[in-house]
Amino acid sequence: MARIVIEHLKYKYPGTNKLALDDISFTIEPGEFIGIIGRNESGKSSLCQAIAGLIPNFYKGAYGGKIFIDDMEVKKVGVEELCETVGIVFQNPFNQVTGSKLTVYEEISFGLENMGIPREEMIKHIDDAMELLDISKYRDRYPFDLSGGQMQRMAIASIIAMKPEVILLDEPTSQLDPQGREEVFQAVQKLSKQGITIIMVEHNMEKIAAYSDRIVLLEDGKLIDIDTPQKIFSRDDLDEYGVEAPVYTQICRELGLKDRSSGYYPITLEEAKRILSGDRKGEM
Protein backbone atom coordinates (compact mmCIF):
# COMPACT_ATOMS: atom_id res chain seq x y z
CA MET A 1 0.00 0.00 0.00
CA ALA A 2 1.04 3.54 -0.69
CA ARG A 3 2.62 5.66 2.00
CA ILE A 4 2.82 9.36 1.17
CA VAL A 5 5.78 11.34 2.41
CA ILE A 6 5.87 15.09 1.81
CA GLU A 7 9.19 16.81 2.52
CA HIS A 8 9.56 20.59 2.59
CA LEU A 9 7.18 21.11 -0.31
CA LYS A 10 7.23 24.61 -1.75
CA TYR A 11 5.44 25.78 -4.85
CA LYS A 12 4.78 29.04 -6.64
CA TYR A 13 2.36 29.37 -9.56
CA PRO A 14 3.84 30.94 -12.68
CA GLY A 15 3.39 34.70 -12.79
CA THR A 16 2.89 35.10 -9.03
CA ASN A 17 5.28 36.19 -6.29
CA LYS A 18 3.62 34.41 -3.41
CA LEU A 19 4.26 30.81 -2.41
CA ALA A 20 1.06 28.82 -2.83
CA LEU A 21 2.57 26.02 -0.77
CA ASP A 22 5.17 27.01 1.78
CA ASP A 23 7.43 24.40 3.33
CA ILE A 24 4.92 21.65 3.97
CA SER A 25 6.07 18.36 5.47
CA PHE A 26 4.01 15.46 6.76
CA THR A 27 3.46 11.77 6.25
CA ILE A 28 0.25 9.92 5.43
CA GLU A 29 -0.01 6.26 6.37
CA PRO A 30 -1.72 3.77 4.04
CA GLY A 31 -5.49 3.57 4.55
CA GLU A 32 -5.77 6.85 6.44
CA PHE A 33 -8.64 9.28 5.90
CA ILE A 34 -7.14 12.75 5.82
CA GLY A 35 -9.26 15.90 5.76
CA ILE A 36 -7.79 19.15 4.51
CA ILE A 37 -9.30 22.37 5.82
CA GLY A 38 -8.46 26.05 5.71
CA ARG A 39 -9.87 29.26 4.27
CA ASN A 40 -10.10 29.94 0.54
CA GLU A 41 -6.74 30.37 -1.20
CA SER A 42 -4.97 28.67 1.67
CA GLY A 43 -3.43 26.07 -0.64
CA LYS A 44 -5.83 23.13 -0.20
CA SER A 45 -6.34 22.47 -3.90
CA SER A 46 -2.69 23.13 -4.67
CA LEU A 47 -1.68 20.52 -2.10
CA CYS A 48 -4.04 17.99 -3.67
CA GLN A 49 -2.76 18.71 -7.14
CA ALA A 50 0.83 18.43 -5.91
CA ILE A 51 0.16 14.98 -4.47
CA ALA A 52 -1.51 13.92 -7.74
CA GLY A 53 1.54 15.18 -9.64
CA LEU A 54 -0.40 17.82 -11.61
CA ILE A 55 1.92 20.25 -9.86
CA PRO A 56 4.61 20.42 -11.29
CA ASN A 57 3.90 18.17 -14.28
CA PHE A 58 0.88 20.02 -15.64
CA TYR A 59 1.30 23.48 -14.13
CA LYS A 60 4.73 25.00 -14.49
CA GLY A 61 6.12 27.31 -11.82
CA ALA A 62 8.77 27.13 -9.10
CA TYR A 63 8.80 23.85 -7.21
CA GLY A 64 10.90 22.81 -4.25
CA GLY A 65 10.96 19.84 -1.88
CA LYS A 66 9.83 16.32 -2.55
CA ILE A 67 6.73 14.17 -2.46
CA PHE A 68 7.14 10.43 -2.35
CA ILE A 69 4.39 7.91 -2.95
CA ASP A 70 6.07 4.75 -1.74
CA ASP A 71 9.38 5.08 -3.55
CA MET A 72 8.09 7.05 -6.53
CA GLU A 73 9.03 10.69 -6.50
CA VAL A 74 6.02 12.59 -7.85
CA LYS A 75 8.09 15.16 -9.71
CA LYS A 76 10.06 12.55 -11.63
CA VAL A 77 7.16 10.26 -12.51
CA GLY A 78 4.70 11.68 -15.04
CA VAL A 79 0.99 12.05 -14.29
CA GLU A 80 0.31 9.30 -16.81
CA GLU A 81 2.19 6.82 -14.64
CA LEU A 82 1.22 8.27 -11.29
CA CYS A 83 -2.49 8.10 -12.07
CA GLU A 84 -2.34 4.33 -11.69
CA THR A 85 -1.58 4.81 -7.98
CA VAL A 86 -3.14 8.18 -7.18
CA GLY A 87 -6.56 9.26 -8.40
CA ILE A 88 -8.05 12.72 -8.05
CA VAL A 89 -11.65 13.91 -8.25
CA PHE A 90 -12.33 17.59 -8.84
CA GLN A 91 -14.96 20.04 -7.77
CA ASN A 92 -17.04 20.36 -10.90
CA PRO A 93 -18.54 17.02 -11.92
CA PHE A 94 -19.56 18.42 -15.29
CA ASN A 95 -16.01 19.12 -16.38
CA GLN A 96 -14.83 15.66 -15.47
CA VAL A 97 -17.01 14.02 -18.09
CA THR A 98 -14.66 13.20 -20.94
CA GLY A 99 -17.20 14.02 -23.64
CA SER A 100 -16.04 11.15 -25.79
CA LYS A 101 -18.33 8.42 -24.46
CA LEU A 102 -22.04 7.93 -24.94
CA THR A 103 -22.95 5.93 -21.84
CA VAL A 104 -21.98 5.95 -18.18
CA TYR A 105 -20.55 2.48 -18.63
CA GLU A 106 -18.27 3.56 -21.48
CA GLU A 107 -17.37 6.76 -19.64
CA ILE A 108 -15.94 4.80 -16.73
CA SER A 109 -13.88 2.74 -19.16
CA PHE A 110 -11.99 5.81 -20.41
CA GLY A 111 -9.09 5.61 -17.95
CA LEU A 112 -8.88 1.84 -18.22
CA GLU A 113 -8.66 1.96 -22.00
CA ASN A 114 -5.82 4.45 -21.72
CA MET A 115 -4.03 2.29 -19.19
CA GLY A 116 -4.30 -0.64 -21.57
CA ILE A 117 -6.24 -2.97 -19.25
CA PRO A 118 -7.41 -6.11 -21.10
CA ARG A 119 -11.12 -6.11 -21.94
CA GLU A 120 -12.30 -8.85 -19.55
CA GLU A 121 -10.51 -7.27 -16.62
CA MET A 122 -11.84 -3.87 -17.63
CA ILE A 123 -15.45 -5.04 -17.51
CA LYS A 124 -14.87 -6.45 -14.04
CA HIS A 125 -13.31 -3.22 -12.78
CA ILE A 126 -16.17 -1.14 -14.19
CA ASP A 127 -18.86 -3.37 -12.72
CA ASP A 128 -17.14 -3.27 -9.32
CA ALA A 129 -16.81 0.51 -9.38
CA MET A 130 -20.44 1.03 -10.45
CA GLU A 131 -21.62 -1.34 -7.75
CA LEU A 132 -19.57 0.44 -5.10
CA LEU A 133 -20.90 3.87 -6.02
CA ASP A 134 -24.40 2.59 -6.59
CA ILE A 135 -24.70 3.82 -10.16
CA SER A 136 -25.28 0.47 -11.89
CA LYS A 137 -28.82 1.57 -12.70
CA TYR A 138 -27.54 4.49 -14.78
CA ARG A 139 -25.27 2.21 -16.80
CA ASP A 140 -26.74 3.07 -20.20
CA ARG A 141 -27.61 6.70 -19.52
CA TYR A 142 -25.92 9.53 -21.39
CA PRO A 143 -23.24 10.97 -19.05
CA PHE A 144 -24.27 14.61 -19.49
CA ASP A 145 -27.89 13.80 -18.62
CA LEU A 146 -27.10 12.73 -15.06
CA SER A 147 -27.80 14.94 -12.05
CA GLY A 148 -24.86 16.59 -10.28
CA GLY A 149 -24.63 13.96 -7.53
CA GLN A 150 -24.90 11.10 -10.00
CA MET A 151 -22.34 12.71 -12.26
CA GLN A 152 -19.91 13.21 -9.40
CA ARG A 153 -20.36 9.60 -8.33
CA MET A 154 -19.64 8.60 -11.91
CA ALA A 155 -16.47 10.72 -11.80
CA ILE A 156 -15.44 8.95 -8.59
CA ALA A 157 -16.29 5.56 -10.13
CA SER A 158 -14.15 6.41 -13.15
CA ILE A 159 -11.21 6.95 -10.82
CA ILE A 160 -12.02 3.94 -8.58
CA ALA A 161 -12.16 1.65 -11.62
CA MET A 162 -8.50 2.43 -12.20
CA LYS A 163 -7.84 0.83 -8.78
CA PRO A 164 -5.69 3.57 -7.26
CA GLU A 165 -4.31 3.19 -3.75
CA VAL A 166 -4.83 6.84 -2.93
CA ILE A 167 -7.83 9.00 -3.81
CA LEU A 168 -7.78 12.76 -3.56
CA LEU A 169 -11.13 14.52 -3.45
CA ASP A 170 -10.97 18.26 -3.99
CA GLU A 171 -14.25 19.68 -2.68
CA PRO A 172 -16.24 16.99 -4.46
CA THR A 173 -19.55 18.05 -2.94
CA SER A 174 -19.35 21.84 -3.11
CA GLN A 175 -21.53 22.11 -6.22
CA LEU A 176 -24.04 19.51 -5.18
CA ASP A 177 -27.39 19.72 -3.44
CA PRO A 178 -27.76 18.16 0.04
CA GLN A 179 -28.93 14.87 -1.41
CA GLY A 180 -26.08 14.69 -3.89
CA ARG A 181 -23.65 15.58 -1.12
CA GLU A 182 -24.93 12.77 1.05
CA GLU A 183 -24.61 10.30 -1.85
CA VAL A 184 -21.00 11.27 -2.40
CA PHE A 185 -20.12 11.09 1.29
CA GLN A 186 -21.57 7.63 1.62
CA ALA A 187 -19.57 6.49 -1.38
CA VAL A 188 -16.38 7.95 0.05
CA GLN A 189 -17.00 6.24 3.35
CA LYS A 190 -17.34 2.90 1.57
CA LEU A 191 -14.01 3.45 -0.15
CA SER A 192 -12.35 4.29 3.12
CA LYS A 193 -13.61 1.02 4.59
CA GLN A 194 -11.93 -0.83 1.73
CA GLY A 195 -8.57 0.42 2.91
CA ILE A 196 -8.01 3.06 0.23
CA THR A 197 -6.15 6.13 1.44
CA ILE A 198 -8.45 9.13 1.17
CA ILE A 199 -7.44 12.75 1.17
CA MET A 200 -10.41 15.09 1.06
CA VAL A 201 -10.80 18.83 0.90
CA GLU A 202 -14.18 19.76 2.31
CA HIS A 203 -15.97 22.75 3.76
CA ASN A 204 -18.59 20.79 5.63
CA MET A 205 -16.88 20.54 9.02
CA GLU A 206 -19.44 18.20 10.59
CA LYS A 207 -18.79 15.64 7.87
CA ILE A 208 -15.04 16.00 7.69
CA ALA A 209 -14.77 15.81 11.50
CA ALA A 210 -16.82 12.64 11.58
CA TYR A 211 -14.93 10.81 8.85
CA SER A 212 -11.29 11.91 9.13
CA ASP A 213 -8.57 10.08 11.00
CA ARG A 214 -6.46 13.19 10.90
CA ILE A 215 -7.01 16.73 9.70
CA VAL A 216 -4.56 19.00 7.92
CA LEU A 217 -5.05 22.68 8.71
CA LEU A 218 -3.58 25.05 6.14
CA GLU A 219 -3.23 28.82 6.19
CA ASP A 220 -1.53 30.91 3.55
CA GLY A 221 0.20 27.90 2.04
CA LYS A 222 1.68 26.85 5.37
CA LEU A 223 0.91 23.76 7.37
CA ILE A 224 -0.49 24.98 10.68
CA ASP A 225 -1.28 21.62 12.18
CA ILE A 226 -1.97 18.00 11.37
CA ASP A 227 -3.72 16.05 14.05
CA THR A 228 -6.87 14.19 15.07
CA PRO A 229 -10.12 16.11 14.46
CA GLN A 230 -10.71 16.36 18.23
CA LYS A 231 -7.41 18.15 18.75
CA ILE A 232 -7.76 20.35 15.67
CA PHE A 233 -11.28 21.51 16.49
CA SER A 234 -10.43 22.06 20.13
CA ARG A 235 -7.83 24.66 19.16
CA ASP A 236 -8.63 28.12 20.48
CA ASP A 237 -7.30 29.94 17.41
CA LEU A 238 -9.53 28.39 14.74
CA ASP A 239 -11.08 31.79 13.94
CA GLU A 240 -7.71 33.11 12.82
CA TYR A 241 -7.60 30.45 10.13
CA GLY A 242 -11.09 31.10 8.88
CA VAL A 243 -12.34 27.73 10.11
CA GLU A 244 -15.51 27.10 12.01
CA ALA A 245 -15.62 24.02 14.22
CA PRO A 246 -18.55 21.58 13.84
CA VAL A 247 -21.72 22.88 15.49
CA TYR A 248 -21.55 20.16 18.15
CA THR A 249 -18.05 21.33 19.09
CA GLN A 250 -19.18 24.95 19.16
CA ILE A 251 -22.10 24.18 21.46
CA CYS A 252 -20.02 22.10 23.83
CA ARG A 253 -17.28 24.72 23.82
CA GLU A 254 -19.79 27.38 24.86
CA LEU A 255 -21.07 25.06 27.55
CA GLY A 256 -17.52 24.20 28.57
CA LEU A 257 -18.10 20.48 28.12
CA LYS A 258 -15.01 18.45 27.29
CA ASP A 259 -14.65 14.74 26.90
CA ARG A 260 -13.19 13.78 30.26
CA SER A 261 -11.07 10.89 28.98
CA SER A 262 -9.37 12.81 26.14
CA GLY A 263 -9.64 16.38 27.39
CA TYR A 264 -10.98 17.67 24.03
CA TYR A 265 -14.32 18.98 22.86
CA PRO A 266 -16.60 16.48 21.11
CA ILE A 267 -16.79 16.72 17.31
CA THR A 268 -19.72 14.56 16.31
CA LEU A 269 -23.37 14.43 17.26
CA GLU A 270 -22.87 11.07 19.01
CA GLU A 271 -19.95 12.30 21.07
CA ALA A 272 -21.77 15.46 22.02
CA LYS A 273 -24.86 13.47 22.98
CA ARG A 274 -22.81 11.08 25.09
CA ILE A 275 -21.10 13.91 26.94
CA LEU A 276 -24.27 15.95 27.37
CA SER A 277 -26.28 13.02 28.71
CA GLY A 278 -23.35 11.95 30.88
CA ASP A 279 -23.16 15.44 32.23
CA ARG A 280 -26.84 15.52 33.01
CA LYS A 281 -26.57 12.21 34.79
CA GLY A 282 -23.71 13.65 36.79
CA GLU A 283 -25.92 16.54 37.88
CA MET A 284 -28.82 14.39 38.86
Binding site: Q96, G99, K101, N114
Partner: protein, 258 residues
Amino acid sequence: MKSISLYVDKGSWLNKMAPESKIIYIITAITVPALLGIRWAGMGFIVLSIILLLSGKVLKKTLPLLGVSGFVLVTVLIIQGLFWAGNITPLFRIGPAVFYKEGLNFALGILVNVINILLSFCVLILTTKPSDMIENFVRKGFSPRFGYVFISVFQIIPQMTETMNTITDAQRSRGMETEGKLWVRIKAFIPLISPVIMSSLINTKERALALEVRGFNSKNKKTFLNEQVKTSADIYIQIALLLGIAAALIWRITVWLG
Protein backbone atom coordinates in the same frame (compact mmCIF):
# COMPACT_ATOMS: atom_id res chain seq x y z
CA MET B 1 -29.63 13.54 -25.28
CA LYS B 2 -28.82 16.20 -27.80
CA SER B 3 -26.45 15.34 -30.56
CA ILE B 4 -25.14 16.96 -33.67
CA SER B 5 -24.49 13.55 -35.15
CA LEU B 6 -26.98 12.32 -37.73
CA TYR B 7 -26.48 8.70 -36.73
CA VAL B 8 -29.56 6.64 -35.92
CA ASP B 9 -29.34 3.16 -34.50
CA LYS B 10 -31.85 1.01 -36.35
CA GLY B 11 -30.08 -2.27 -35.66
CA SER B 12 -29.84 -2.88 -39.38
CA TRP B 13 -27.06 -4.81 -41.09
CA LEU B 14 -25.55 -1.49 -42.18
CA ASN B 15 -25.19 -0.48 -38.53
CA LYS B 16 -23.22 -3.62 -37.87
CA MET B 17 -20.85 -3.24 -40.81
CA ALA B 18 -17.32 -1.96 -40.32
CA PRO B 19 -17.10 1.80 -40.98
CA GLU B 20 -14.11 1.13 -43.24
CA SER B 21 -16.30 -0.78 -45.68
CA LYS B 22 -18.64 2.17 -45.94
CA ILE B 23 -15.74 4.56 -46.44
CA ILE B 24 -14.40 2.38 -49.24
CA TYR B 25 -17.92 2.38 -50.67
CA ILE B 26 -17.85 6.19 -50.78
CA ILE B 27 -14.49 6.15 -52.54
CA THR B 28 -15.78 3.59 -55.04
CA ALA B 29 -19.00 5.49 -55.68
CA ILE B 30 -17.02 8.64 -56.46
CA THR B 31 -14.03 7.27 -58.38
CA VAL B 32 -15.69 4.63 -60.53
CA PRO B 33 -18.12 6.99 -62.36
CA ALA B 34 -15.27 9.53 -62.67
CA LEU B 35 -12.96 6.93 -64.19
CA LEU B 36 -15.57 5.49 -66.49
CA GLY B 37 -16.82 8.92 -67.50
CA ILE B 38 -20.30 7.52 -68.11
CA ARG B 39 -23.29 9.20 -66.55
CA TRP B 40 -25.10 5.88 -66.22
CA ALA B 41 -22.41 4.70 -63.79
CA GLY B 42 -23.19 7.63 -61.49
CA MET B 43 -26.90 6.92 -61.75
CA GLY B 44 -26.21 3.27 -61.02
CA PHE B 45 -24.47 4.21 -57.79
CA ILE B 46 -27.33 6.55 -56.87
CA VAL B 47 -29.75 3.66 -57.22
CA LEU B 48 -27.39 1.42 -55.24
CA SER B 49 -27.09 4.01 -52.46
CA ILE B 50 -30.87 4.36 -52.33
CA ILE B 51 -31.25 0.60 -52.04
CA LEU B 52 -28.63 0.55 -49.25
CA LEU B 53 -30.30 3.41 -47.40
CA LEU B 54 -33.67 1.74 -47.79
CA SER B 55 -32.38 -1.53 -46.36
CA GLY B 56 -30.74 0.43 -43.55
CA LYS B 57 -34.15 2.02 -42.83
CA VAL B 58 -32.71 5.53 -43.01
CA LEU B 59 -33.92 6.71 -46.43
CA LYS B 60 -36.34 9.11 -44.77
CA LYS B 61 -33.46 10.80 -42.95
CA THR B 62 -31.82 11.69 -46.26
CA LEU B 63 -34.80 13.78 -47.40
CA PRO B 64 -33.95 16.91 -45.35
CA LEU B 65 -30.35 16.67 -46.60
CA LEU B 66 -31.54 16.36 -50.18
CA GLY B 67 -33.96 19.23 -49.60
CA VAL B 68 -31.20 21.64 -48.64
CA SER B 69 -28.91 20.72 -51.52
CA GLY B 70 -31.92 20.33 -53.82
CA PHE B 71 -32.51 24.05 -53.72
CA VAL B 72 -28.96 24.70 -54.93
CA LEU B 73 -29.28 21.99 -57.57
CA VAL B 74 -32.49 23.49 -58.96
CA THR B 75 -30.75 26.85 -59.39
CA VAL B 76 -27.87 25.07 -61.16
CA LEU B 77 -30.38 23.45 -63.48
CA ILE B 78 -32.09 26.77 -64.26
CA ILE B 79 -28.94 28.81 -64.75
CA GLN B 80 -27.12 26.25 -66.88
CA GLY B 81 -30.31 25.53 -68.85
CA LEU B 82 -30.69 29.22 -69.65
CA PHE B 83 -27.16 30.50 -69.96
CA TRP B 84 -24.62 27.69 -70.50
CA ALA B 85 -21.99 28.85 -73.03
CA GLY B 86 -22.56 25.95 -75.44
CA ASN B 87 -26.36 26.33 -75.59
CA ILE B 88 -27.63 25.80 -79.18
CA THR B 89 -30.76 23.64 -79.30
CA PRO B 90 -33.79 25.15 -77.56
CA LEU B 91 -35.76 22.49 -75.74
CA PHE B 92 -38.71 24.34 -74.24
CA ARG B 93 -39.70 27.77 -73.07
CA ILE B 94 -41.43 29.09 -69.98
CA GLY B 95 -42.67 32.58 -70.79
CA PRO B 96 -39.67 34.55 -72.06
CA ALA B 97 -37.11 32.04 -70.67
CA VAL B 98 -35.74 29.54 -73.18
CA PHE B 99 -34.18 26.36 -71.85
CA TYR B 100 -31.50 24.72 -74.00
CA LYS B 101 -30.78 21.03 -74.35
CA GLU B 102 -26.97 21.28 -73.96
CA GLY B 103 -27.13 23.36 -70.79
CA LEU B 104 -29.69 21.06 -69.18
CA ASN B 105 -27.58 18.08 -70.17
CA PHE B 106 -24.53 19.66 -68.55
CA ALA B 107 -26.49 20.53 -65.40
CA LEU B 108 -27.79 16.98 -65.25
CA GLY B 109 -24.18 15.77 -65.12
CA ILE B 110 -23.50 18.00 -62.10
CA LEU B 111 -26.78 16.87 -60.53
CA VAL B 112 -25.91 13.20 -60.83
CA ASN B 113 -22.44 13.74 -59.37
CA VAL B 114 -23.64 15.79 -56.41
CA ILE B 115 -26.50 13.45 -55.54
CA ASN B 116 -24.23 10.46 -55.90
CA ILE B 117 -21.64 11.93 -53.51
CA LEU B 118 -24.35 13.07 -51.10
CA LEU B 119 -26.11 9.72 -50.95
CA SER B 120 -22.95 7.66 -50.63
CA PHE B 121 -21.88 9.84 -47.70
CA CYS B 122 -25.34 9.38 -46.22
CA VAL B 123 -24.76 5.63 -46.27
CA LEU B 124 -21.78 6.19 -43.98
CA ILE B 125 -23.00 9.04 -41.81
CA LEU B 126 -26.53 7.90 -41.12
CA THR B 127 -25.60 4.34 -40.21
CA THR B 128 -22.31 4.76 -38.34
CA LYS B 129 -21.80 5.86 -34.77
CA PRO B 130 -19.07 8.54 -34.95
CA SER B 131 -17.29 7.11 -31.92
CA ASP B 132 -17.23 3.62 -33.47
CA MET B 133 -15.73 4.99 -36.63
CA ILE B 134 -12.97 6.91 -34.84
CA GLU B 135 -12.34 3.97 -32.53
CA ASN B 136 -11.77 1.75 -35.53
CA PHE B 137 -9.29 4.28 -36.89
CA VAL B 138 -7.47 4.43 -33.55
CA ARG B 139 -7.24 0.64 -33.60
CA LYS B 140 -5.60 0.91 -37.01
CA GLY B 141 -2.98 3.32 -35.65
CA PHE B 142 -4.69 6.72 -35.79
CA SER B 143 -3.55 8.97 -32.89
CA PRO B 144 -5.86 8.50 -29.88
CA ARG B 145 -5.52 12.21 -29.08
CA PHE B 146 -6.87 13.32 -32.43
CA GLY B 147 -9.44 10.59 -32.11
CA TYR B 148 -10.56 12.12 -28.82
CA VAL B 149 -10.80 15.56 -30.38
CA PHE B 150 -13.03 14.29 -33.19
CA ILE B 151 -15.31 12.31 -30.91
CA SER B 152 -15.63 14.93 -28.20
CA VAL B 153 -16.66 17.60 -30.70
CA PHE B 154 -19.95 15.73 -31.13
CA GLN B 155 -20.73 16.17 -27.43
CA ILE B 156 -18.92 19.33 -26.39
CA ILE B 157 -20.55 21.50 -29.05
CA PRO B 158 -24.11 20.66 -27.97
CA GLN B 159 -22.99 21.36 -24.39
CA MET B 160 -21.65 24.75 -25.44
CA THR B 161 -24.91 25.51 -27.21
CA GLU B 162 -26.69 24.74 -23.97
CA THR B 163 -24.37 27.08 -22.04
CA MET B 164 -25.09 29.72 -24.67
CA ASN B 165 -28.83 29.30 -24.14
CA THR B 166 -28.45 29.59 -20.37
CA ILE B 167 -26.42 32.76 -20.74
CA THR B 168 -28.91 34.18 -23.24
CA ASP B 169 -31.71 33.59 -20.74
CA ALA B 170 -29.68 35.13 -17.94
CA GLN B 171 -28.84 38.25 -19.93
CA ARG B 172 -32.40 38.57 -21.15
CA SER B 173 -33.68 38.39 -17.60
CA ARG B 174 -31.45 41.38 -16.84
CA GLY B 175 -33.24 43.31 -19.53
CA MET B 176 -31.02 42.82 -22.54
CA GLU B 177 -32.73 42.74 -25.90
CA THR B 178 -31.69 39.64 -27.78
CA GLU B 179 -34.42 39.49 -30.37
CA GLY B 180 -35.66 41.85 -33.01
CA LYS B 181 -33.80 43.86 -35.62
CA LEU B 182 -30.38 42.89 -36.95
CA TRP B 183 -28.66 45.76 -35.15
CA VAL B 184 -30.22 44.73 -31.81
CA ARG B 185 -28.98 41.19 -32.35
CA ILE B 186 -25.47 42.36 -33.22
CA LYS B 187 -25.37 44.52 -30.10
CA ALA B 188 -26.49 41.54 -28.01
CA PHE B 189 -23.86 39.28 -29.48
CA ILE B 190 -20.78 40.48 -27.57
CA PRO B 191 -22.19 40.28 -24.02
CA LEU B 192 -23.47 36.84 -24.95
CA ILE B 193 -20.43 35.40 -26.60
CA SER B 194 -17.75 36.58 -24.14
CA PRO B 195 -19.05 34.62 -21.12
CA VAL B 196 -19.40 31.59 -23.38
CA ILE B 197 -15.78 31.83 -24.49
CA MET B 198 -14.47 32.54 -20.99
CA SER B 199 -16.38 29.69 -19.42
CA SER B 200 -15.38 27.26 -22.13
CA LEU B 201 -11.72 28.18 -21.65
CA ILE B 202 -12.02 27.46 -17.94
CA ASN B 203 -13.94 24.25 -18.62
CA THR B 204 -11.31 23.16 -21.09
CA LYS B 205 -8.54 23.58 -18.54
CA GLU B 206 -10.46 21.60 -15.95
CA ARG B 207 -11.34 18.92 -18.46
CA ALA B 208 -7.70 18.67 -19.53
CA LEU B 209 -6.75 18.03 -15.89
CA ALA B 210 -9.47 15.42 -15.57
CA LEU B 211 -8.31 13.67 -18.73
CA GLU B 212 -4.70 13.81 -17.60
CA VAL B 213 -5.43 12.00 -14.34
CA ARG B 214 -7.25 9.32 -16.27
CA GLY B 215 -4.14 8.35 -18.15
CA PHE B 216 -4.85 10.28 -21.34
CA ASN B 217 -1.12 10.51 -22.03
CA SER B 218 -0.35 6.99 -20.92
CA LYS B 219 2.36 5.28 -22.90
CA ASN B 220 0.68 1.89 -22.54
CA LYS B 221 -0.96 0.39 -25.56
CA LYS B 222 -4.62 1.42 -25.57
CA THR B 223 -7.27 -1.26 -25.16
CA PHE B 224 -10.97 -0.97 -25.98
CA LEU B 225 -14.12 -1.69 -24.02
CA ASN B 226 -16.27 -2.12 -27.10
CA GLU B 227 -15.52 -4.87 -29.50
CA GLN B 228 -14.64 -3.82 -32.98
CA VAL B 229 -17.63 -3.16 -35.21
CA LYS B 230 -17.34 -5.53 -38.14
CA THR B 231 -18.98 -8.51 -39.73
CA SER B 232 -17.55 -11.54 -41.48
CA ALA B 233 -18.82 -10.16 -44.79
CA ASP B 234 -16.86 -6.92 -44.43
CA ILE B 235 -13.60 -8.19 -45.82
CA TYR B 236 -15.28 -9.62 -48.95
CA ILE B 237 -17.20 -6.41 -49.54
CA GLN B 238 -14.05 -4.36 -49.17
CA ILE B 239 -12.17 -6.59 -51.60
CA ALA B 240 -15.03 -6.48 -54.10
CA LEU B 241 -15.18 -2.67 -53.94
CA LEU B 242 -11.43 -2.30 -54.35
CA LEU B 243 -11.52 -4.72 -57.29
CA GLY B 244 -14.27 -2.56 -58.79
CA ILE B 245 -12.06 0.53 -58.56
CA ALA B 246 -9.13 -1.39 -60.02
CA ALA B 247 -11.25 -2.67 -62.90
CA ALA B 248 -12.47 0.84 -63.71
CA LEU B 249 -8.88 2.08 -63.61
CA ILE B 250 -7.70 -0.64 -65.96
CA TRP B 251 -10.58 0.07 -68.33
CA ARG B 252 -9.66 3.77 -68.35
CA ILE B 253 -6.00 3.03 -69.06
CA THR B 254 -6.81 0.64 -71.88
CA VAL B 255 -9.09 3.27 -73.42
CA TRP B 256 -6.26 5.79 -73.25
CA LEU B 257 -3.72 3.40 -74.71
CA GLY B 258 -6.09 2.06 -77.33
